[in-house]
């Protein structure tokens, strides 16, 4: 992976997203701070309802933000944008949805579904040019040009997911938000789709925000991982660092739940249970601290000292 660490593509600052108002107000996501570098795969993991999709949708401008900033290519995008800016952002940030059946218009042909963005933004010179672009992308995702005139219901789950990918990638985006793109798929089709996403990344230096709950897949595909719980990022680190030195008890609990596909080890495995009451934040307030270059944890001062000590011991062990 050729990730230039200096090249920040997307940056979230103190982001808060809430639903409803007054007494009904529900803060779904708060204090979210992270950068995504160009060309990397950044994953967001956490249990159901933790706010992963909400963040993804805010980046696409579907969910309004109640506080904080989203910067894309150095420009703030969660504010009123000029028509031209808005067009630019809509094109450059694409989303692949979790459910391949629900996200495709059943009454449109594959040709139309894939071309819709091209039509909306007039991204083609002539009908010939458009058709050539569509044919190229459909072949790249492993489908045939003859499939263009068929309808979504004639395709399998894996094929539909490929159509969703083609529709996003034909826009030549910089950033793709992939919200559980493989959860609904069978193991072997899952592998095909992941390989495809990786191939496009290599070829076009694409950046992915990958949302998933299957941590074994996340480990394989990500450069960095952020762990979210109840709307807050609790830990962020390089993939291998997170798997080998998980510090936050919630991360440890999450990793302990990953299935081990080995009958002997799986039976010895113990689930680590996370209880929010284990933190005493009455006096020392927690914040998001960089305890080691690139490794951030949400903790207060005593916890920070404890984590640093663990890292120090680990460091000595591996030396």
């Amino acid at each position: 992976m050729t990730v230039n660490k200096k090249d920040v593509l997307l940056s979230l600052h103190d982001l808060e997203i809430s639903f409803g108002e007054g007494k009904q107000k529900f803060v779904a996501v708060q204090d979210v701070n992270f950068d995504i570098y160009r060309g990397e795969t950044f994953s967001l993991v956490g249990e159901s309802g933790s706010g992963k999709t909400t963040i993804g949708r805010a980046i696409l401008g579907i969910n309004p933000t109640s506080h904080g900033e989203i910067d894309f290519n150095g420009h703030q995008i969660n504010k009123k944008l000029s028509h031209q800016e808005e067009q630019e952002v809509t094109r450059k940030i694409q989303m692949i949805f979790q459910d391949p059946s629900a996200s495709l218009n059943e009454r449109a042909t594959i040709d139309y579904i894939i071309s819709e963005g091209l039509y909306n933004f007039h991204l083609y010179d002539s009908e010939e040019d458009r058709l050539q672009k569509v044919t190229k992308i459909i072949e790249e995702v492993g489908l045939l040009p003859e499939h263009l005139y068929r309808y979504p219901h004639e395709f399998s789950g894996g094929q539909r997911q490929r159509i969703g990918i083609a529709r996003a990638l034909i826009m030549q985006p910089d950033l793709v938000v992939a919200d559980e793109p493989i959860s609904a798929l069978d193991v072997s089709i899952r592998a095909q789709v992941l390989n495809l996403l990786k191939k496009f990344q290599r070829e076009s230096n694409l950046t992915y925000l990958f949302i998933a709950h299957d941590l074994s897949v996340v480990r394989f595909i990500s450069d960095r991982i952020a762990v979210i719980h109840a709307g807050r990022i609790l830990e962020l680190a390089d993939t291998e660092e997170l798997f080998t030195n998980p510090l936050h008890p919630y991360t440890q609990s999450l990793l302990s739940a990953v299935p081990i596909p080995d009958p002997e080890l799986a039976r010895e495995k113990k689930l680590v249970v996370y209880d929010t009451n284990m933190h005493d934040y009455s006096v020392d307030k927690p914040k998001f601290v960089e305890v080691k270059p690139g490794h951030f944890v949400y903790c207060n001062a005593p916890e920070e000292a404890h984590y640093r000590k663990i890292l120090e011991e680990q460091g000595q062990l591996t030396k």
Binding site: T244, I260, P261, L265
Partner: protein
């Protein structure tokens, strides 16, 4: 697990009428379910996992039918039962099913508690008051916090994982002898998935039921299965103990399934994916159904159907590679020494280390 068989399937074939054509969903499947075991059925989408187990409760759709073979349960020939009335004493009561989506199995406008109590009243003939107590106890047993207080809540007030627990509680309320779990955790996140698997294991110890666990993900079953049956295109192509299937798989399709585990992939490399697509179920299959996708296929695989070869008293596989005349073929390198490799990964992640430490600490506390 005991050696007694609780359910016996012999040469079962199931078809569906589809617009004037016949789709053969199950072909000649034989299976013995042992009392109190956990049998996992794995295989890719469309391989017939759900259809096979639906025949155990008479739940095939209108257009489906058993074209051949028998299913026997506790002295009763289930394959002969026709009317819904005949199934009454079996379905839900003796053999219960938990489906993937808990929302479809719960009534959104009735309280959680009343839905469990209803089943207790109907199947165990208890009074309303007793039923409520039993329901709360079941909610408690399935890990719902403050069960009594949450008795009167509605399904929408529960999270996905909690709803799945309730579906399990309802299934258990009738004290079934066989519990079929059809991908009960695929839609859940890992934490909840792990909790539900633990829960099923624990409850099995207390209630002594037999479990059939259906999934397409081999990784999920390593911790709970006693035996594993691998399905491909409507057939069981390999069956063995959990250890036999993971450590000594014999069918090339089982090799492919194991190879697709993301835990085995090299970072920066490709994930293994099975080439090609499964055969059409409308056509007769000549030879070994997996042959066109099998990198190890021999000439005979395209010509004749392989028999079930016996590997051990508990292990069978339907592949010509086991014929004495076949050349010796090793399983792919990717799935050799699985155990040693996972031990290494865990060591690198400090997980083995951390766990033994924890266990030592506990022992200490106990003294």
């Amino acid at each position: 697990m005991t050696e007694k068989s609780i359910l016996t399937v012999k040469d079962l074939s199931v078809g569906f009428h589809v617009r004037g054509r016949e789709l053969k969903a199950i072909r000649n499947v034989s299976l013995e379910l042992k009392d109190q075991e956990t049998l996992a059925i794995v295989g890719e989408s469309g391989s017939g996992k759900s259809v096979l187990t639906k025949t155990f409760t008479g739940m095939l759709e209108q257009n489906g039918y058993i074209s051949h073979g028998t299913i026997d349960y506790d002295g009763q020939r289930l394959s002969d039962l026709k009317k819904d009335k005949d199934w009454e004493g079996i379905r839900g009561k003796e053999i219960a099913t938990i489906f993937q989506d808990p929302m479809t199995s719960l009534d959104p406008i009735k309280t959680i508690g009343s839905q469990i109590a209803e089943v207790v009243i109907k199947h165990q003939g208890k009074s309303k008051k007793e039923a409520k107590e039993i329901a709360i106890d079941l909610m408690d047993r399935t890990g719902i916090p403050n069960a009594a207080a949450r008795y009167n809540e509605y399904p929408f007030e529960y999270s996905g994982g909690m709803r799945q627990r309730i579906v399990i509680a309802i299934a258990l309320a009738c004290h079934p002898k066989v519990l079929i779990c059809d991908e009960p955790t695929t839609a859940l996140d890992v934490t909840i998935q792990a909790q539900i698997l633990e829960l099923i294991k624990e409850l099995q110890k207390d209630y002594h039921f037999t479990t059939i666990f259906i999934t397409h993900d081999l990784g999920v079953v390593a911790s709970i299965a006693d035996r594993i049956a691998v399905m491909y295109s409507g057939e069981i192509i390999e069956v063995g103990t959990c250890r036999e299937i993971f450590y000594d798989p014999r069918h090339p399709y089982t090799w492919s399934l194991l190879s697709s585990l993301p835990q085995l992939a090299q970072k920066g490399g490709e994930l293994y994916s099975i080439p090609g697509t499964p055969p059409s179920l409308y056509k007769d299959i000549k030879g070994d159904a997996f042959a066109p996708r099998n990198p190890f296929a021999m000439k005979v695989d395209f010509e004749a159907e392989p028999p079930m070869f016996q590997v051990s008293p508990t292990h069978f596989a339907k592949t010509w590679l086991l014929d004495p005349r076949a050349p010796k073929v090793e399983k792919p390198a990717l799935i050799q020494n699985l155990h040693e490799r996972f031990v290494k990964t865990l060591e690198r992640d400090n997980r083995l280390h951390a766990e033994t430490e924890e266990m030592e600490a506990e022992e200490h506390d106990g003294k």
